[in-house]
């Protein structure tokens, strides 16, 4: 990838089926090394946005380029450049951390899968438990191992879908440390969250997604925190209202 090229370029992205519009015309771009946090009420289409961007689902119209690859083409090469951390850990409960990561390393086609697995397990501080079954792990440890899985192949772009959900304070601090380190290593990061303080703390850009659209997107330097907070709460409240009538 060229250094000056955008890591992400999203144009008029839409995802709808029949009348349901999960993503309804989103435009943005991110340079390499930038960190974007997307806030938004439940059902605003944040998860769908991430799913489109990492090629799990196809958009109805519009284009998205990730690391120079077009997501609509279902590009296998693109998936080498991305790592995804979500609420679901994507780890096999009956395997050990080493076996899990070795498996994913082999799927990525990495050479020396075992060494790579050991190395990232060390990085997330789980080397003492590396031969225990994942089923016995706490939520925080699972999330750390999930990070290890996502950064195993050293991706240039990371997607995080509400990574703080269900974590205790210690675990979320560990996660924040990792995110900062990755950010310092100039990894491009897109994160969705409900946690205002965590979300605003690390990012370069903030966006607010409401009903499938970006209602707001600014550089963090230009954002008045209180104003943003009240705007976010309004959006969540309105959404709550909509959801209640809808059902």
């Amino acid at each position: 990838m060229e250094p000056d090229e955008n890591a992400m370029e999203v144009r008029h992205l839409r995802k709808s089926f029949g009348v349901l519009k999960a993503v309804d015309g989103i435009d943005f771009e991110l340079k390499q090394g930038e960190f974007l946090t997307v806030f938004g009420p439940n059902g605003a289409g944040k998860t769908t946005l991430i799913k489109i961007l990492c090629g799990l689902t196809q958009p109805t119209s519009g284009t998205a380029k990730i690391a120079g690859f077009d997501v609509t083409e279902g590009n296998v090469e693109m998936r080498k450049e991305i790592g995804v951390i979500s609420h679901a850990t994507a780890l096999y409960a009956d395997l050990t951390p080493v076996e899990n990561l070795m498996f994913f390393a082999r799927m990525h086609g990495l050479s020396q899968p075992e060494e790579k697995a050991m190395k990232v397990i060390d990085e997330v501080g789980l080397s003492q438990r590396r031969n225990d079954r994942v089923r016995t792990f706490s939520r925080g440890m699972l999330q750390r191992l999930s990070i290890a899985r996502a950064i195993l192949h050293d991706p240039t772009i990371l997607f995080l879908d509400e990574p703080f959900t269900g974590l205790d304070i210690h675990a979320s601090n560990v996660l924040k440390e990792h995110l900062k380190r990755l950010h310092n290593r100039r990894r491009t990061i897109l994160m969705t969250t409900h946690d205002i303080s965590c979300g605003l703390e690390m990012c370069d850009k903030v966006a607010l997604q409401v009903q499938g659209k970006f209602a707001f997107m600014e550089n963090i330097a230009d954002v008045n925190r209180d104003q943003f907070e009240s705007m976010y709460f309004d959006a969540v409240r309105d959404n709550q209202f909509v959801m209640e009538i809808g059902s």
Partner: protein, 226 residues
Amino acid sequence: MNLYFNQIAAIVWKDFVTELKTRELLSAMFIFALLVILIFIFSINLSIVKASEVGPGVLWVAFLFAGTIGLNRSFMLEKENGCLMGLMLVPADRTTIYFGKLISNFIFLSIMELFILPLFMIFFNIEILEYLGPLLMVIFLGTLGFCALGTLLSSLSSNLKTREIMLPILLYPLLIPIVIGVVRMTGQLLEGVPLLDMMKWVGLTASFDIIYIGVSIMTIDHILEE
């Protein structure tokens, strides 16, 4: 191309390691198949009917029911913790997931069948050793067809709320042709008819296998999409 086979091998390896640790799948399938055979034996009077006439049907019903348990379990493992999503994010073609699961399902089912066969021989008093070669061939064709369609449909049903119920409802009607084929072939084999005299059945089951593997390759992309 090398990477492609490596990825398939990795999926199979992963399923085997899991099975070695938990030993849940094979034992459950084996005991279930055994129970099916026993229940059939209690419900038919073996002194009236000829064992070689009802035996093949009972055997295949046992394989089919036990195999369905295996399929359900196999995709449940992938759905737990969203592992299937993790698999879809690695730089691998979607068909590697299909083939990986197909091969591991096929191997597990075959191992179970190898354990069941001697018991079947003993319980029904049927001599199968002299027909073992062609019999294994028939079992291979039948099991492959079952797994080809079963893997496709269990990857589909695993996303439904009522997956345990829906898999058999979707799968069994579609499997009827192959069940008729393999039961007929097994029965004839045990009567001493050589496999060469049943080439139309061999052709039917083999083309079933090929067509459904082909259809799965073409449609798996549409199923493995969030």
